[in-house]
Amino acid sequence: MTPAPPALEIEELSLSIAAARVVDGVSLAVAAGEVVAMVGESGCGKSLTAQAVMRLLPDAVRHQGGRIRVAGQDITALPDSAMRRLRGRALSMIFQEPQAALDPLATVGAQIAEALRLPLARARPAVRAMLEEVGLSDPERRIDQYPFELSGGMCQRVMIACALIARPALLLADEPTTALDVTIQAQILALLRRLAAERGTAVLLITHDMGVVADIADRVAVMYAGRIAETGPVGALFAAPRHPYTALLLAAIPRLADTPKSRLAVIEGRVPMPGAFGAGCRFAERCPLADARCTAQAPPLRDLGGGRHSACFHAERVG
């Protein structure tokens, strides 16, 4: 018997806007019950990757190549109607601004019931149970409330209820805590972690926050300028990064032990503009280890063993 296919398998995904390859050959897998964090600066292509998995890319973005399999099923070639049936049931998504992601004119309950394809009257018991599961007090009253009557944290719980009520195997979470207060952030992350574990849901978490990654993820994929720089288990990757970009990112996290008023570590330079990508490594011009080979050819993602991969010629010299 062959083992069950991963909940999500992205293979050499490439997306472009006009002539620029904003996502270039990204490969990634998320197993059932696993939380994989995709980390990178804004514009590195992580949100587009998630939208490509949902097949809800903006009109300007073209799918150039690569396959996406959800529970073994290739969704890149599915007809729209079949894809629509998968959304909410096989895979679902939560968003950065929970209040903006809810229709202000519809009740919370009606929106959650939509994920079950049922009118609220029939879905009511299930919706109430789900609201309870995401930790909302007084769920019976919350069902008939409007988003403006709830706080941001409560709205994100509602979004999570919406995303998980139909028991999808895969949840995409696009910066789910960025818009929330720090204390609420921790609660929401703990909730995601718990629900994913209980239900065996695979989670692809998109974030720019290394703190969030450390809190919740099993594995990390670090993205830079549309490519994966490094992947690996969270503990090993944080302890010994194998890509200069990851190393600099980790060094840039402010720590309580830092001398007060000391300069924050930053990564010099800027992310190259899409369209100005050269033939070589996209991080080369900011990289302390870069040499002539780095600017001439793109480093492939190499298997370093122990579940770790790095797209750096000098991976062994990092750190």
């Binding site: 629509r84 903006a100 809810l102 229709d103 202000p104 519809a106 919406c162 139909a166």
Partner: protein, 306 residues
């Protein structure tokens, strides 16, 4: 909610009172209204007699209070030209204008909103561009000209519809189309902008992420949200419709208050003109109040807010 509605009703009442007062002030600022009512060759004695008969020789405050007292009894005075109570003259015309305005509104909403929705949903496609041209044309044609074109085509050349008067049930069609076209364009453009604004919002992506088709997301979520800004404009457009009725009723010889206003201005029938101005202003205020009530009905943030 009750606070919101009470506030809006109060504002509307203040605005209505303001309109009544402004009409009174304008009447008296423009000099002795008696002079507007008499023929140019009237003698000073005749003028003085009429002035006294109409009460224009009393103190201004007394006149103002008397004027408000009359309005409270729906007494708009006596038309000196038509020798009939102004209220009776107006009441005979209002049903025609209401019929015309409602028919024009049906044209404007029936064509304008779907056109606006289609232009937003089909954005970038040839069909949307074609619609944009039609809408622009509808907005650009002055009603007096589009009215004449409609008469020529459907009345004279094809002979399908009556061209003037209000003698048969189909008489309202041509003036309603002429009047509704401009408003239709306004509705279409507003609806398009509101739809495009809403279509780009996160809740649409979220609705699709939980399995709604684009059409279902539009029907269940986008339309209601897009309706909020359109409702405001709709109230103003209905006001403009009444202004447009003055021209359209004249072109099509439609016996409504627009035609009455034109005739009364020409005949210097001052009290009738004043009554028409009052009526149109009060309708305008009433429409805005309706729009405010509609908000509360659509938007829970107003309905259930503080």
């Amino acid at each position: 909610m009750p606070r919101h509605i009470a506030g809006r009703v109060g504002q509307a009442l203040v605005a209505a009172f303001g309109v009544l007062s402004i009409v009174f002030v304008v009447l008296h600022l423009s000099g002795d209204p008696t002079l507007l009512l008499v023929p140019p060759d009237a003698s000073a004695a005749q003028i003085a007699e009429l002035r006294h008969a109409l009460g224009f020789d009393r103190p201004l405050l007394a006149q103002y209070l008397a004027y408000l007292g009359q309005l409270a009894h729906f007494d708009l005075g006596q038309s000196l030209v038509q020798r009939a109570p102004v209220a009776v003259i107006l009441a005979a015309r209002i049903p025609y204008t209401v019929e015309l305005a409602l028919a024009a509104l049906a044209v404007a909403i029936g064509l304008g909103l779907p056109a606006g929705i289609a232009m937003a949903v089909w954005r970038g496609r040839p069909a949307a561009r074609l619609l944009a041209v039609v809408v622009l044309a509808g907005q650009s044609l002055p009603t007096f000209w589009s009215g004449i074109l409609l008469i020529l085509l459907f009345g004279v050349t094809l002979g399908w519809l009556p061209t003037s008067g209000a003698d048969s049930a189909s008489s309202v069609i041509l003036p309603a189309v002429a009047l509704g076209l401009v408003t239709m364009a306004g509705f279409a453009r507003m609806m398009r902008i509101a739809m495009l604004d809403e279509l780009g919002r996160d809740y649409v992506a979220a609705a699709r992420a939980r399995g709604l088709s684009r059409g279902a997301a539009i029907l269940r979520h986008v339309l209601r949200n897009a309706a909020i800004p359109v409702v405001t404009i709709a109230a103003l457009e209905i006001g403009n419709l009444l202004a447009g009725a003055v021209i359209v009723e004249t072109v099509f010889a439609w016996p409504g208050i627009g035609q009455l206003a034109m005739q009364s201005i020409a005949a210097r029938d001052f009290l009738v003109v004043q009554a028409v101005v009052l009526f149109v202003s009060l309708v305008y205020i009433g429409m805005n109040l309706l729009a405010d009530l509609a908000y509360a009905w659509i938007d829970p943030r107003i309905r259930r807010g503080p």
